[in-house]
Symmetry: C2
Subunit: 436 residues, 2 copies
């Protein structure tokens, strides 16, 4: 198999696709090198790709000191620049985090490859055999903040799905990311794959990031991993296709027939088990007929959570602050919960329609009809009956691994696993059929 | 089931989603009315939706005169404005075209609904039952040129998949489109669905079109149906998610082991059967070792086709004009064919990599290894072995109907049928599970 991008036909002198643009500069050039490598990676066997990922795990384990040294440089600089505790926690690696990165890579390597899966197939009356086959996307772009563990996590998932990866981490993590990517590139070469199957954009300027988001014909799918501002920047600037890992303004609705013990457990878990993540709840909706019984007990249970509520809530919970329109529309990502008393399931569904971000929505109910109405009428990536929204996660739902949770509807919705890093190709076999 | 968008909870006074924007003006207002209707359509039974589509077919049949009268107004105006023959042909309706519209609607109504399909599902070790369920996208936006038959075709497919539809046809067809949409809206109401499940943007200005392409939070998926300029306008302006029905710069590669009789049939069919459409071929690639035998005979067969070729082609076909780089990059959509002689499959694959638009690519070969290499290495929506590229079409491949052929990789690739007008929702059932 020839892997050279140059071609021998007639007048063609350059191997690059005419659609890949002619933009000069380091960002486009880096992207084009990843694009060239993507052709090799896409048609390598899954055994070769898995071998590379295993080499990555070995290298990260063997050279953990290199990574930790580089990380210390980043951390020192960040401390000097006055980075806050949350930022530093995300930036800092330690032995345990390296082990998690290594373990993550080994698990991804051991998963079945999504590439080549025949999704479905059939035979036409004229004998044409039609198959829809899962194939790599090509070049996955990942733009992320602080956390350097995303570097190996994202590259591992992307390569497993047969793609090259173009990474753009934050300036604060540049030494760490460079050290990790150097190991990944070495591993690719020793596995017989091109080093450019993983490239890191070392220019961490905003200008370069915008250029990255606009590499049409080069980046097949851009995935932002980070906060609201990063996502908004992608929405504003990206001209390449992207999948948004958006806000999670999630709700729990406690229906009139709910098992209130169960509802209390689920509310506490969905709010407090890890309040800073997207699949935690931000608003509790309670059916008016159980508000007297449920609100005082759940308020006692939500120790440390600031409650804000509408008038009907505050009649039952005098300590709750008044909720503003803004409160209902906000993903707090912390120990604050908006509460509203609703007249019934219709009102709960309408509240979620108005304020929800389409991430994860849950109901607690014993009523089959209510569960059915909620799951069919609430338009979100995930709807959950009688369980915590915290389960809406690739790992917890059994996808094996995830690169994010999509809140958009096209291509991927909900937890994005390996399958969402691929696309479909129609493969049609005939024996001379022509159309009449 | 309450279908009102207003809610009864606490302080909420408006039923519209906070994410649907506050843009004033007729375009946004029209979009919001479709969005409200989309909630009703999405949860109506498929029987009710099918009933509406059947009423549409009946109404178009019964009131064909109204549509034809309106169309005559459009055609007269277009003639006065000096529209060319191709444009007029696309704009003009007649009895046969109305019958085709009616038949199309009846066929769509009779197809199985894609909504509610459980795509897959499994049970987690903790007992959580996970299902991925096919659900409507919400509001499908369609922007199209001239052809008024798209009005009923697109609305029918969209409603079948549980969506509301926002249409923007060209100014030249406004009277026809308005007449059709009036019938569709009447049909919705008499089927018990809201009229706003189909809305037509009657302001056909460019400004209104751009506003349409930017209705974030309202339009879930925008589908342009038209030429290169329309597609480029969507790429440039759209901020809502879209699926591009892009160019088809398609190739046929005649391998060294090809059955040359078959190759000749396929080349003629793929070029000449309907040269103006996206799945016709624009370039013929011929293995050097069969060029002497194949080129003269295929040239004789391609009566009326202007051939342009590289030097190696022109040695065999002295009448062929020299091909420019531009020729290989162009979708001619007419009786012109670029030809190149290549050293083998690698060179053919590389030529397609460089010039192809990712639509449909075909090989004629008797060699299993060549067929495998071609289908695995050519990155296009569809790869075809020993058959005409003209089969790459929703109807011909057995999807039952199509709203376009996607040349993008995310969400939909290749012919887009009903399934591509839906998305996925995770539905998770538990019995009190919380995350530890």
């Amino acid at each position: 198999m020839t892997t050279s991008p140059s071609i021998s036909a007639g007048r063609v002198t350059s191997g690059e696709p005419v659609g890949a643009g002619t933009a000069a500069g380091a960002v486009a050039s880096l992207g084009r090198s990843a694009r060239v490598a993507s052709r090799v990676v896409a048609t390598a066997s899954s055994g070769v790709r898995d071998g590379a990922i295993e080499r990555w795990a070995d290298a990260l384990e063997r050279h953990a000191d290199r990574i930790l040294d580089a990380n210390q440089t980043d951390v020192d600089r960040a401390v000097g620049a006055g980075m806050g505790a949350t930022g530093l926690d995300r930036l800092r690696l330690d032995g345990a985090r390296i082990v998690a990165m290594v373990t993550g890579l080994r698990r991804v390597a051991s998963m079945p490859s999504p590439v080549g899966e025949v999704v479905d197939g059939w035979v036409r009356p004229n004998g044409l055999r039609v198959e829809r086959v899962r194939v790599p996307l090509g070049v996955i772009g990942v733009i992320y903040e602080n956390r350097p563990n995303v570097t190996s996590d994202a590259a591992g998932l992307s390569l497993k799905a047969g793609n090259a990866t173009m990474l753009r981490g934050s300036g604060s993590a540049i030494a760490t990311n460079s050290a990790i990517v150097a190991l990944l590139r070495d591993g690719l070469v020793s596995a017989g794959l091109p080093a450019d199957a993983v490239v890191l954009l070392e220019d961490t300027s905003h200008r370069a990031a915008v250029e990255f988001m606009q590499l049409q014909g080069i980046v097949d799918c851009l995935i932002p991993r980070g906060g609201h501002e990063l996502v908004e920047s992608v929405r504003a600037h990206a001209t390449v296709p992207y999948v948004i890992d958006g806000d999670g303004n999630c709700h729990l609705y406690v229906d009139v027939t709910a098992d209130l013990d169960q509802a209390e457990e689920i509310a506490a878990n969905a709010k407090m088990q890890r309040p800073g993540v997207c699949n935690s709840i931000e608003t509790l909706l309670v059916h008016a007929d159980v508000a007297d019984a449920f609100l005082p007990r759940v308020a006692r249970r939500l120790v440390g959570v600031t409650l804000v509520g509408d008038e009907a809530t505050r009649r039952r919970l005098p300590d709750a602050e008044p909720a503003t329109e803004e409160d209902y529309a906000t993903e707090f990502l912390g120990m604050r919960l908006a509460v509203a008393v609703v007249d019934g399931l219709d009102a709960a569904v309408d509240h979620i329609y108005r304020y929800g971000s389409g991430h994860s929505e849950a109901i607690v109910t014993r009523d089959v009809a209510a569960a059915d109405a909620f799951t069919s009428r609430v338009d979100a990536a995930a709807v959950v009956v009688n369980a915590s929204t915290r389960f809406v996660d690739g790992e917890e739902l059994g996808l094996g691994a995830e690169i994010g949770i999509s809140t958009q509807k096209l291509h991927a919705r909900g937890p994005m696993g390996l399958r969402e890093l691929t696309c479909i190709r129609y493969v049609v076999h005939g024996n001379g059929q022509v159309r009449t």
